[in-house]
């Protein structure tokens, strides 16, 4: 008997039992179900939610691979500063990839393992199908945490994020906050020392710092992100090219603006990601950046100000550093938590970009404001939609008055 027939028989056998959703999840992973239409349209378009989610994962793969190489590169470059003189030659090496494999892959595995386990448990308890939302969340989570995040911490955060961020609202499609960012926010507020500062972004930086303090190792090590340096009004050692290509410390998947834009192009082309949100987020960030640049140009803020470093950052550089690009392309575009109307998407994205840079500049303790900005706008997205839809309702009502007057 073929696998197809075996699975079909099992499906029939478990139909109506508690375990059916868990079993169906595996079955439908392998095979498109044999369901046919009943009533309504007799034919259906080709895409389903699995395909949609799959496209987003594909768009994330370049960032993941780059992040794995970058993990190794940042590690070795921190030990031996000379690697920075010829980045390209020293980047795509097997040594770098190996660090990526031992540091990044476990994060991916824990994220998917724990997250899907929670999803399966909920599906079995509540008797709904295992939904696809976590396929993307599970990939996003490892990409937006620092490389040295302990696995147990990630596991705890994932459980929190999936249960409180999603399942209590009724599962995929019903959540108010982006689940991946809920997980990120949990980590940030529960374990702040692991999520910010200058020691977490490069694998091994913390240990080496301890060694330096103990006097056993005299080499200086800087594991700081660019934003961290700016926030402390320090010189940044990375060139614009480094920042755009992503040869910089940062969360695993967020550093390469080039690959993020590649992912964005793929998402927009496939019509899975909203170009309105992506574009308007960048516009919002650029506008806020320009405003700050003008404040500096008008001498309202002097070099002695603690905000000077980030305010003086050229507006277009804001778009390349930190998590802005990653947030704009992969987080803000989450259709469930974003504004749902096309007009609303423009406003929603613009405000994300605008507020991101504002938080970035005014919060030197943690200069990465993108995830907070997106979560904030997640909360306001329904309000934005409400007013957009009310505009339509008013237009319709106006039509009536004209007729009867």
């Amino acid at each position: 008997m073929s696998l197809k027939q075996n699975l079909h028989n099992l499906k029939e056998k478990y139909k109506g039992t508690k375990m059916a959703p868990a079993f169906n999840a595996i079955h439908t992973f392998l095979y498109l179900p044999n369901e046919v239409t009943h009533g309504g349209t007799h034919i259906k378009a080709a895409d389903d939610l699995k395909r949609t989610m799959n496209i987003v994962i594909m768009a994330l793969v370049p960032c993941l691979l780059f992040g794995m190489f970058n993990a190794g590169y940042q590690h070795y470059a921190a030990i031996d500063g000379s690697l920075r003189t010829d980045v390209l030659a020293n980047f795509f090496t097997l040594d770098n990839l190996w660090i990526g494999i031992i540091k990044v892959l476990p994060l991916v595995i824990v994220s998917y393992g724990v997250g899907l386990l929670v999803e399966f448990i909920f599906a079995v308890i509540k008797g709904h199908e295992v939904e696809e939302g976590y396929l993307v969340t599970g990939m996003l989570v490892p990409l937006i945490v620092p490389i040295d995040t302990p696995l147990w911490m990630l596991a705890v955060a994932v459980v929190f994020g999936v249960v409180i961020g999603k399942e209590v609202f009724g599962g995929t499609g019903m959540n108010i906050l982006n689940p991946a960012l809920t997980i990120r926010a949990f980590l940030f507020f529960a374990y702040p020392t692991w999520m910010s500062g200058d020691k977490v972004w490069v694998y091994g930086a913390a240990e080496r710092a301890n060694e330096i303090v103990a006097g056993s190792n005299a080499d200086a090590i800087s594991g700081e992100t660019i934003l961290g340096s700016y926030a402390q009004n320090q010189e940044v050692i990375y060139s614009t090219w480094d920042k755009f290509m992503g040869f910089i410390p940062g969360s695993i998947g967020e550093t390469s603006t080039l690959l993020i834009l590649l992912g964005a192009a793929f998402l927009i082309f496939t019509k899975i990601g909203s170009w309105r949100v992506i574009l308007s987020t960048f516009i919002g960030a650029a506008v806020m950046g320009l405003i700050f640049n003008q404040i500096v140009a008008a001498d309202i803020i002097t070099e002695s100000s603690k905000f000077y470093g980030l305010m003086n950052t050229v507006w277009w550089e804001h778009l390349m550093i930190g998590g802005l690009a990653f947030g704009a392309v992969f987080m803000a575009t989450d259709p469930v938590t974003a504004s749902q109307t096309n007009k609303g998407k423009w406003i929603y994205g613009f405000l994300i970009g605008f507020i991101s840079i504002m938080i970035r500049v005014f919060n030197p303790a943690y200069p990465e404001g993108v995830f907070l900005a997106i979560l904030l706008m997640n909360v306001f997205a329904p309000t934005i939609d409400h007013y957009v839809v009310q505009g339509n309702v008013k237009r319709r009502l106006k039509r009536t008055k004209v007729k009867t007057a």
Binding site: T41, D47, R51, I55, T270, K271
Partner: protein, 449 residues
Amino acid sequence: MSKDIRIKKGLDIKLVGVAEKNTTKSSQSSVYAVKPEDFHGIIPKLIAKEGTEVKAGEALFHSKSDARILFPSPVSGKVVEVIRGARRKVLAVKITADATQTYKDFGTKDAGAMSAEEVKNHLFEAGCWPFVKQRPYDVVANPNQAPKAIFVSAYASAPLAADLDYTLVGKETELQAAITAVSKLTEGKVHVSVGANSTSPLAKLSGVELHKVSGPHPSGNVSTQIAQIDPINKGEVVWVITPQDLVVIGELFLTGKLNLTRTVALTGSQFSKPHYVTAISGASIATVTANNLKEDNTRIISGNVLSGKEVKADEFLGYYDNQITAIPEGDDYEFFGWNKPIFNKISTSRAFTFSWLTPKKKYDLNTNTNGEHRAFVVTGSYEEVFPLDIYPMQLLKAFMYKDLDEMEALGGYEVAPEDFALTEFICVSKQPHQKIIREGLDLMREELG
């Protein structure tokens, strides 16, 4: 003077099995049936009992709420069976047809010389009222409300739809008679829309406001045209009549006979020779499709693939339908069907689906849902195929949680289930849009009248 309606949003679904333009006469089926279900919202009260002899045009049942609305027998013969379902609901009235048809004589009339009341009474008496449907709610028109306009769409844009330019050829006199008659029923205009480059006999009628329509489906849907020409507001009613039904009305006025014969398109890949046949409304599917259908694993649909009704070969042609579609059933599993590149299905996204590369290609789609039912996740896709000034997802959600104020404000008066066929087709979450809309409209009708 004609006015142009051009819409951009929408989707033409090109399928294999366009009906060839030749018409044959289907043999007369031995049994015909009238199904009260075809007249949504009507509760039937039987007039003819089992064993009654009826002539073509004689009433079988009337509406419980308005005894003037009669539902006629399409053929002459004997009522053999009244099929009932749960709680004695009448599902179908079956009539065995006589070999030679006799028609009840309603007398020839000159519509031009009649008053509105006389026209109405004549339509009631001959059982033609069910042809007049109303918006809002998409049900048989309430004769006590005055419509602000009457709409006739002679442009069919649904997949594989019968070409009305072809099926109505030679019916000019009937159409003109019918238009003259129904135009008495409204103070407003009678809007007729035809395709942009059409040779439709309706383009030459007098006493109508002509519109030329272009653009992808749903440009032919009458709701789309109403929204462009004269949108429905709260408290307003418009009436809608299809051109093939106008022909019946016209013939009634000219000859005094109710002749429910219509040209039916047999379409879809499961027909060996897709073409047109003439058949009487309510004919058995088996007779109409005789010797033409690939029986193996076939879905037969009375109507089009987007909003038609599934029927079996031993069932009957729907009262309003002028099309029978047959497509393959898709009841098989597809290995890794959710992530491999797809070339043989249609999609509005480009998510490894390649129908955007070949916009002219005709597809042989089956009935597989291509995925499981999920909550709404994707946003912005419905708007691409929905040309009305309405937020489709918000309206659907309002219909699901049954907030009457929102249903009203968001555009509930302007839509019919068929308007949501395309959004249902492209829905990634496989939600039953038309069902949601139908149930919502029924609730609105019940609560708001």
